[in-house]
C-alpha cells in the first residue's frame, strides 16, 4: 500500500516549507530512512526521509514549490500502485484535527445612552444623568478640569427642598430614590419610604409621620431588648377560677368608698404567697444568684410616652387596703409624672395586667433584674362542670414568665398554683 510523503511540520511555528530539491525521481527505488528530498523552512534546511521502502510513485510539487505543512507531496509504494490525482491533507490529520477552541466573548452593550456622549463628565455623573433623564449638556460643570461631577447632576435631579433636607439629615442617597412627584421629582414621602425600606428591608411602607422617641421610650426599649435577648425565658399559663373572688370583691366593695380592684386582690395574693415562698425572688449577679428578702412588687403602668413599673414595697407586710392605696397613688403619680426614683426602683418581682384589654394570655418581658413577671389576663366566662352541674364560671389566665437561668419549671409551676389556690379561695387572701 502506497505511503504518503508530506511536507513535515518541523517546529512549533512552522506553517509552510519550500522544496529545495527532490533527491529521487518518480519511479526510482528508495529505502526507508533514505533522503527523499530537501526542504527549507524559515529556520533551517533539512532532509525529508523516505517513509517506506519502495519506488517513488509520484511527486505533486516540484523544486522550488512552497507547500503548506502536512500536505501530501508524493507517494512511495509498489510500482503501479494507484495514487490520488491531487495533493491533499495527510490522511489522518484531516480526520482528527482538533476542533478550534475559540473562546466566545459576549459583546457587551454600552451601558450609557448616547445622549451623554461627547460631554466631559465623570462616569458617576453620566450614570446618574441617564438614570434621571437629565441632559448633561444642560448641566453646569464644577469639576476642576471643567468636567461634570456627580454633585452637579445631583443638583439637577428634581427633588423638593424638603426631601433634600430630610435626605441629607438621614444620609439617604437621593440618586437611589424614585420620585413620585411631577416628572419624577423626589418628594418627602419618597424619602420617608426609602428610609422605611432601609430600616425594614423588603417592605416598603409609606410613613405617615414620625414621632421622636421620648427618653423614656428609649430607655424602656433598650431594657426590653436586653432582657429579651439575654434571658432564656419560659412562660407558663395557669387558669384561675375567679368566680368566688368576684363575688367576694363585690361583697366587700358594697360598703366601701374606695373600691378594691381585682388587681389589688391579685397583688395581695402574690404577696402572700411570697411571704413564705421566696424561691422566685432571685436575681442574677456577676457570679452568683442573689436571693431577696423583700417582697417588692413592681406594677407595670402604661403611659403615653412609655412603660413604667412603680414598686409596691414590702407588699407582704401590707394589708389589702394598704396595697390598694399604694397602687392607686403610685399609678396616679406615674401618670402625672410625679414618681420619685425610689418609687420605681428595687422591685423583686413584677406584675403586668392586661386584663382590662381582653387579653387571653401573653408573654410579658421579664423586668430585669427580676427573675419573674406575672401577666394578668382578662376574666372570661366559661361553662364548667361544678359538682356535675354545668355552671357559668369566670376564668382568668395567669401568664408567668420567668428567667430559666434562675428559676426552674417546677418552682415556677408550684408558685403559680399557690397563687391560683389563693385566688380561688379569696377568704384565704385576707387571713
Amino acid at each position: 500500500m502506497a505511503v504518503e510523503v508530506f511536507m513535515p511540520k518541523a517546529g512549533m511555528d512552522m506553517q509552510e516549507g519550500t522544496i529545495i530539491q527532490w533527491l529521487k525521481n518518480v519511479g526510482e527505488n528508495v529505502e526507508e530512512g533514505e533522503g527523499l528530498l530537501e526542504i527549507e523552512t524559515d529556520k533551517v534546511t533539512m532532509e525529508v526521509e523516505a517513509p517506506a521502502t519502495g519506488v517513488l510513485l509520484c511527486r505533486y510539487f516540484e523544486d522550488g514549490a512552497v507547500v503548506p505543512v502536512v500536505t501530501t507531496i508524493g507517494y512511495v509504494g509498489e510500482p503501479g500502485e494507484a495514487v490520488p490525482d491531487k495533493p491533499q491533507l495527510a490522511g489522518i490529520v484531516a480526520k482528527t484535527a482538533p476542533s478550534e477552541m475559540v473562546e466566545t466573548v459576549e459583546k457587551q452593550k454600552p451601558v450609557l445612552a448616547d445622549e451623554t456622549n461627547g460631554v466631559k463628565a465623570t462616569p458617576y455623573a453620566k450614570k446618574m444623568a441617564v438614570a434621571n433623564a437629565i441632559d448633561l449638556n444642560e448641566v453646569p460643570p464644577t469639576g476642576p478640569a471643567g468636567e461634570i461631577k456627580g454633585r452637579d447632576v445631583e443638583r439637577e435631579i428634581a427633588k423638593s427642598p424638603l426631601a433634600r433636607r430630610i435626605a441629607e439629615d438621614k444620609g439617604i442617597d437621593l440618586s437611589a430614590v424614585t420620585g413620585s412627584g411631577h416628572q419624577n421629582k423626589v418628594m418627602k414621602s419618597d424619602v420617608l419610604a426609602k428610609i422605611a425600606e432601609q430600616e425594614t428591608p423588603g417592605v416598603t411602607a409609606v410613613v405617615l409621620n414620625t414621632t421622636p422617641l421620648s427618653g423614656m421610650q428609649k430607655v424602656v426599649g433598650e431594657r426590653m431588648v436586653k432582657a429579651h435577648t439575654e434571658i432564656p425565658c419560659v412562660t407558663q399559663n395557669t387558669k384561675v377560677d375567679m368566680t368566688k373572688l368576684l363575688a367576694f370583691r363585690k361583697q366587700i366593695n358594697e360598703n366601701r368608698e374606695n373600691k378594691l380592684t381585682i388587681n389589688d386582690f391579685i397583688v395581695k395574693a402574690v404577696a402572700k404567697v411570697l411571704l413564705h415562698d421566696k424561691k422566685v425572688l432571685v436575681s442574677l449577679g456577676d457570679k452568683e444568684i442573689i436571693h431577696h428578702q423583700d417582697v417588692n412588687i413592681g406594677i407595670a403602668v402604661a403611659l403615653e410616652e412609655g412603660l413604667i413599673v412603680p414598686v409596691v414595697k414590702n407588699a407582704d407586710k401590707k394589708s389589702l387596703e394598704e396595697i390598694s392605696e399604694t397602687v392607686k397613688s403610685l399609678s396616679a403619680k406615674a401618670k402625672s409624672g410625679g414618681l420619685m426614683v425610689d418609687d420605681y426602683q428595687g422591685s423583686t418581682i413584677s406584675i403586668s395586667n392586661l386584663g382590662m384589654f381582653g387579653v387571653h394570655s401573653f408573654t410579658p418581658i421579664v423586668n430585669q433584674p427580676n427573675a419573674v413577671i406575672i401577666g394578668i389576663c382578662a376574666i372570661e366566662e366559661e361553662l364548667a362542670l361544678v359538682d356535675n352541674q354545668v355552671e357559668n364560671r369566670k376564668k382568668m389566665m395567669i401568664s408567668l414568665t420567668y428567667d430559666h437561668r434562675l428559676v426552674n419549671g417546677d418552682v415556677a409551676a408550684k408558685f403559680s398554683l399557690k397563687v391560683r389556690d389563693l385566688l380561688e379561695n379569696p377568704m384565704e387572701i385576707l387571713l
Partner: protein, 460 residues
C-alpha cells in the same frame, strides 16, 4: 352605538364642566347634563356673584375713607342702587357662563339641558331619553341646608340663592350661620346699608379657619357695624303681620329683621343618583369616594360638593380633572392637602394646611408671624389690618400651615400653597428675594421669623 359616550357628566358646575373638558381633551366623547345654567353654584349663585357684591362693598369702604387720604368727596349721599348691583352681578355671571358654554362647545362636549338621573341598567336618563356612557361622573353639587326651625319657610327667609336676587337693601338683615357664606354676605350688606346680625351656633365665626383668623375677623366685622351673636341657636322665626320677622334665639332673646338669610351650610344634591340611590355607598349624607374619585359603583365617579370632601369650587375643579383622567383610563389621585380656604370679607382671610392647634398635636413646630403694621405696602395703602402666620416643622422647616389676613389674602395664599405642594421649606422662602414693597413680603418675613431670623422684627 346610539347615544353612547365615553364619559357622561351630570352637573355643569366648576367640577362638572372641568371634568367634561378634561375628558374631551383626553380624546373622549363627552356628554354633559345641566338642569340650569352651566357654571353651577359657583358662577351663578356662589363665588362669583358674592365677589361682585364684596367688591362693591370695598368701593364703598374706600370711598368712605377717601377723605382721610386727602380726596375731597361728599359721602353723605353714598348708597347703592340694589337693582343696578344685581344687574351688574348678572352681567358678570352671564359673561362667565357664556364663556364656559363656549369652552364646552369648542371642546365638542355635548351639553344636554335637563335633569339627569342614573338608571338601574347603568345608563343616564334625561328628559325621556336614555344615554349610555362607559363612565359617569356625578357632579350634582349641593343646595343650601335649610334647618328644621319653626317659621323657616316664612316669607322673607332667604337662602344665599334667593338673597342674590333681592333688589332692595333690607334695613335689618339677620344671618343664621357665621360661616364663609354668612360672613361674606354680612360684609356686603353691611356696606350696602343693612343692619346685620349674625347668629352663630358655635363659639366663633368661620371656625374651620382657626382662632387666629377669627381674632382678626371679629374686629373687622365689628368695625363694619355687624353684630355677632355666638354660641346661640335659632329656635324659631315668626313673621308679624307688619311683615317683620322676629328671630327667637336659644337664649330666649328676639331679634327683629326685615330679611333673614339662612346660611347654615350646603348639603349634597343627590337628585342625580336616581334609581341607584340605594345602591351607591354613602358617607353620611355625601357619596363615598376613594382618592381616585370612584364611588362604590365601578364606572361611576363623584366629585365636588356631592362627595363632601371639600366644598370649594377650586377643589371641585381639581376633583373633576382627576375623575376625568381616571375615567379615561388614567390612574391619578386627588391630593387636597394644600388646597387653600379663602374668605372674602374686608379684609380678606385665607388659610392653607394646618392651624397651629392642629399642627402642635403631631409635630414639633415653630411659628412665625408678621403683622401688616410692619409691611410697607400695607402702610402705604392704609390697609394695615392683618398678618401672616406661618407654622413650620422645626427640624427641616417644612411649612405645615399658613394663615393670612390681608386685603389680598386670597391672592397671597397661593404662594404658600405652592411652597407646600412643592415642599419648599421656610428656609428657601426666607432666602428668596421678594419684591418690595408688596404684601407678599410678609410671608417671607413670617417664614424668617419662624426660623428665628426675621430682619424686620425686633429681636426676641
Amino acid at each position: 352605538m346610539k347615544n353612547g359616550f365615553d364619559v357622561a357628566v351630570i352637573g355643569g358646575g366648576p367640577g362638572g364642566y372641568v371634568a367634561a373638558i378634561k375628558a374631551s381633551q383626553l380624546g373622549g366623547s363627552v356628554v354633559l347634563f345641566e338642569k340650569d345654567a352651566v357654571g353651577g353654584t359657583c358662577l351663578n349663585r356662589g363665588c362669583i356673584p358674592t365677589k361682585t357684591y364684596v367688591k362693591t362693598a370695598e368701593y364703598i369702604k374706600h370711598i368712605k375713607y377717601a377723605h382721610s387720604r386727602g380726596i375731597r368727596i361728599d359721602v353723605s349721599q353714598l348708597g347703592v342702587n340694589m337693582v343696578d348691583v344685581v344687574a351688574n352681578k348678572n352681567e358678570v355671571v352671564k359673561k362667565l357662563t357664556t364663556g364656559v358654554a363656549g369652552l364646552l362647545d369648542s371642546n365638542q362636549v355635548k351639553v344636554i339641558k335637563g335633569t339627569a338621573t342614573l338608571t338601574n341598567d347603568g345608563k343616564v336618563f334625561c328628559d325621556g331619553q336614555s344615554y349610555e356612557a362607559k363612565n359617569i361622573i356625578l357632579a350634582g353639587g349641593s343646595k343650601p341646608r335649610v334647618l328644621d326651625i319653626p317659621g323657616i319657610k316664612s316669607q322673607g327667609v332667604l337662602t344665599s340663592d334667593t338673597l342674590l336676587d333681592l333688589e332692595e337693601v333690607p334695613d335689618r338683615l339677620v344671618i343664621i350661620g357665621g360661616g364663609v357664606i354668612g360672613c361674606e354676605f354680612a360684609t356686603a350688606f353691611a356696606a350696602f346699608g343693612s343692619e346685620v346680625t349674625i347668629v352663630e351656633f358655635t363659639d366663633q365665626l368661620v371656625k374651620p379657619m382657626g382662632k387666629d383668623i377669627y381674632k382678626y375677623l371679629r374686629k373687622a366685622i365689628k368695625a363694619q357695624g355687624i353684630k355677632t351673636v355666638l354660641n346661640t341657636a335659632v329656635e324659631s322665626i315668626e313673621r308679624s303681620e307688619a311683615g317683620i320677622l322676629v328671630v327667637k334665639t336659644s337664649d330666649q332673646k328676639t331679634i327683629a329683621a326685615d330679611k333673614v338669610l339662612v346660611a347654615t351650610g350646603r348639603r349634597a344634591d343627590l337628585e342625580c343618583l336616581g334609581d341607584r340611590k340605594n345602591e351607591i355607598a354613602m358617607d353620611g349624607t355625601f357619596v363615598l369616594v376613594d382618592c381616585e374619585m370612584r364611588t362604590s359603583i365601578p364606572n361611576v365617579f363623584c366629585i365636588g360638593d356631592m362627595n363632601g370632601q371639600m366644598q370649594l369650587a377650586h377643589a371641585a375643579s381639581k376633583m373633576g380633572e382627576t375623575a376625568a383622567v381616571n375615567a379615561m383610563g388614567g390612574n391619578e389621585e386627588v391630593d387636597l392637602r394644600h388646597v387653600a380656604n379663602c374668605l372674602y370679607t374686608l379684609p380678606e382671610a385665607a388659610t392653607v394646611g394646618l392651624t397651629e392647634e392642629d399642627a402642635k398635636k403631631e409635630h414639633d413646630i415653630a411659628v412665625g408671624t408678621f403683622s401688616l403694621n410692619a409691611n410697607g405696602r400695607a402702610l402705604a395703602s392704609g390697609e394695615t389690618d392683618g398678618f401672616v402666620k406661618v407654622i413650620i416643622e422645626k427640624k427641616y422647616g417644612e411649612i405645615l400651615g399658613v394663615q393670612i389676613v390681608a386685603p389680598v389674602a386670597a391672592e397671597m395664599i397661593s404662594e404658600a400653597a405652592l411652597c407646600m405642594t412643592m415642599e419648599i421649606t421656610a428656609h428657601e422662602v426666607a432666602a428668596m428675594v421678594h419684591p418690595h414693597p408688596t404684601y407678599c413680603e410678609a410671608f417671607m418675613e413670617a417664614c424668617a421669623d419662624a426660623l428665628g431670623k426675621c430682619i424686620h422684627l425686633p429681636r426676641k
